[in-house]
């Protein structure tokens, strides 16, 4: 029955999650695809031929003739980000033949910059030898169109120029000898205009992803900055781990002294001797320790350890471990003392009546039960400790937090390093919580098996 109910609950939860996800994804898709309608095939042809017409300058008669002689065939038009991609096949003019017919004009177009007859003759020869002999070609190119305030702007790429002026455009770009320059001028092709940069047709998602990628690379990959995060994490874990051990050991000792004194002082008083005096002295020390540690901020404590007590100790990590260990000990002690006091006195009496002495009763009977009782509270203390270690940056230790902050200082971008640091802490705490809840379940076995 309960199992069925559980299953139902899980199914409902999963269902709700699926619906929400679908709504989010759908919303995103709609917002992304909400751009100007892509042009039809005819409109595309007009757009492309207009673009081609606008490529040559006013004086480029040859270029004009070449570009008028091409044939366009629109193959495909597809959405691409906020723009569209027109796939077009261009049959070029027969450039070789065209140039042949215009050769005289081209040569005659000598604008007077070439003075010497000898040179003129050589140029004539060169022109003929240099002229591209390209014949009709067929090229298929993808042309990017960007949506600029609702109208389509065609991006005039090198590729397009090369398809319209096969051979010539490259020839225009490549050579630089003086004769060739002259030829180019004669061809009046020098002013074929193309667009310098590709239009940004990315939608906001692509743009954000690219931005994040760039940020990620800047903050973590460049100069191996991820190593700072890893080393910082190791330092954090090191400090937390060692101070956890110090704290628990110290806490149990202090709790044992305090609880023993509270529970056992009658008996010790009666037995007399030095035991009672020692215990009451230790109890006093423990009380002072608890008051001082719990009464001052941990940052101040760390600073005091670092700059006053362990002034000569250059190992900051060690100082931090001690500081946090001693600090945590006070809280753990009170947690354990509360746990010991919460165990029914009958358990204690049962242990004593069997012949266990005070310490044996504690170890064999009370402490195992205390541990189970205080585990959730203790887990809280561990989580608090893990996060508290983030202040060691105050004394120049590079832990996870400090590492993130250092990267922020170097890259001037706060988002990536700080969010990552937060996520790492979150993951650690979640892992810790998970492990403790498993341990708790195992310890609770004896209580759970009620019949």
């Amino acid at each position: 029955m309960t199992k069925n109910n559980k299953l139902k609950k899980i199914l409902i939860t999963v269902g709700v999650i699926v619906v929400v996800l679908a709504a989010v994804v759908g919303g995103l898709y709609l917002s992304v695809s909400r751009t100007a309608e892509i042009p039809s095939s005819d409109e595309a042809a007009v757009l492309v031929s207009n673009a081609i017409d606008s490529m040559y300058g006013k004086n480029s008669a040859v270029a004009k003739e070449i570009s008028e002689d091409i044939e366009l065939k629109i193959n495909d038009i597809e959405q691409d980000g906020t723009g569209c991609l027109i796939n077009v096949t261009i049959d070029s003019a027969d450039i070789g033949a065209l140039l042949e017919t215009h050769l005289d004009e081209i040569v005659a177009l000598d604008d007077g910059t070439v003075k010497s007859d000898e040179l003129k003759a050589s140029i004539n020869e060169k022109v003929v030898s240099l002229l591209p002999t390209t014949e009709k070609t067929t090229a298929t190119v993808d042309i990017i169109c960007a949506d600029v305030d609702g109208t389509w702007k065609v991006y005039k790429s090198e590729e397009l120029a090369d398809a319209v002026y096969p051979g010539l455009y490259k020839f225009n770009q490549d050579n630089s000898e003086s004769e060739v320059k002259a030829v180019k001028r004669l061809l009046t092709l020098t002013d074929i205009k193309i667009d310098k940069s590709e239009p940004d047709t990315r939608n906001w998602i692509q743009r954000s992803v690219d931005e994040l990628k760039a940020q990620f690379k800047l903050n973590f990959i460049t100069d191996g900055r991820w190593k700072m995060i890893v080393n910082g994490l190791l330092t954090t874990l090191e400090i937390t781990g060692v101070s956890l051990v110090i704290g628990v050991v110290l806490g149990i000792i202090v709790a044992a002294i305090r609880a023993s004194f509270d529970k056992n002082n009658d008996e010790m008083k009666k037995r007399g001797g030095i035991g009672y005096g020692i215990m009451s002295f230790l109890n006093g020390i423990c009380k002072i320790y608890l008051t001082v540690i719990r009464g001052t901020p941990v940052v101040v404590q760390v600073l005091i350890y670092y700059f006053i007590i362990f002034k000569s100790l250059s190992n900051g990590t060690l100082v931090a471990m001690l500081a946090f260990g001693i600090n945590s000990g006070a809280y753990v002690a009170e947690i354990f003392r509360g746990g010991i006091m919460s165990i029914d006195n009958g358990q204690f009496e049962a242990g004593r009546s069997l012949g266990f002495n005070y310490v044996q009763t504690m170890c064999h009977v009370v402490i195992p039960q205390v541990f189970k009782a205080v585990l959730p509270t203790l887990c809280n203390e561990f989580i608090a400790l893990l996060k508290e270690t983030s202040i060691v940056g105050y004394v120049g230790e590079v832990d996870l937090t400090k590492a993130g902050d250092l990267i922020r200082g170097r890259t001037f971008s706060a988002f990536m390093p700080l969010i990552l640091v937060a996520l790492v802490y979150l993951a650690l705490v979640m892992l810790l919580t998970f492990l403790v809840s498993r341990l708790e379940r195992r310890l609770r076995k004896s209580e759970r098996r009620h019949e």
Partner: protein, 249 residues
């Protein structure tokens, strides 16, 4: 050690005062617990009978007095009370089984840790005792899985595992459902028949009449009357005992 004496415990002038003598829970108790016999302490609530019982193994620290156990004053200063407690089994009103241990572990932990008995030997002894009280099949269960009567039977055999010279029962049936009282009393009866020295604080007058060798009536921290069950129940002398019996019988 006065082995020749017939008394396992001799109490002389036992006092327990609270608040610097303002409250006198025990006010000068003299009592002998005979070896191999059952001594039952009865009396109204607050009469000090539980305090007396708990003083016998010093769970309650007396203000004054002598408690001789096997001829040693265990209320003296230089006494290792833990060693003597091993020989004094105690059963509590609320069982006080260790909830985090199985029944078997509850029974074997003391012999193993204190008498250094091997695990196998301790478990063998425990299983033998469990069979005697008919709970051998529950050895690996946890206390929370048992009924009150079963828990109390376990508590009795747990104490027996230390092979005590005397068993102290502190109202062993008071926290039980009525239908479970019988099974616990039966175990105690069987135990009495084996010749175990027992001190029982109880409100079960039937048990006192049937099993006790000596009945002690206490009121206001003093022993008012003591004698055989016959004398106490059939021929009470003091008005207070008469009054008490009139109310409980």
């Amino acid at each position: 050690m006065k082995e020749d004496t017939n008394n396992i415990i001799e109490v002389r002038g036992l006092k327990k005062h609270y608040l610097k003598g303002k409250i006198k829970a025990l006010d000068g108790i003299d009592i002998d617990i005979e070896r191999g016999k059952v001594t039952v302490i009865i009396g109204p609530s607050g009469s000090g009978k539980s305090t007396l019982l708990r003083s016998l193994n010093l769970l309650e620290l007396p203000t004054d007095g002598i408690i001789e156990f096997n001829g040693v004053d265990i209320n003296g200063k230089k006494v290792d009370i833990n060693r003597h407690r091993q020989k004094m089994g105690m059963v509590f009103q609320h069982f006080n089984l260790f909830p985090n241990m199985t029944i078997l572990k509850n029974m074997t932990i003391a012999p193993m840790k204190l008498k250094k008995v091997s695990k196998a030997q301790a478990e063998e002894q425990a299983m033998g005792l469990l069979k005697r009280v008919g709970l051998a099949d529950r050895a690996n269960d946890y206390p929370s899985q048992l009924s009150g009567g079963q828990k109390q039977r376990i508590a009795i055999v747990r104490a027996l595992c230390m092979e005590p010279d005397v068993m102290l029962f502190d109202e062993p049936t008071s926290a039980l459902d009525p239908e479970m009282v019988g099974e616990v009393l039966q175990v105690m009866k069987d135990l009495a028949e084996t010749g175990m020295s027992m001190v029982v604080v109880t409100h079960e007058m039937g048990f006192a009449r049937e099993v006790a060798n000596k009945v002690v009536f206490m009121d206001e921290g003093v022993i008012v009357e003591e004698g055989t069950p016959e004398e106490i129940f059939n021929n009470p002398q003091s008005d207070r005992l008469k009054d008490f019996l009139a109310k409980v019988l």
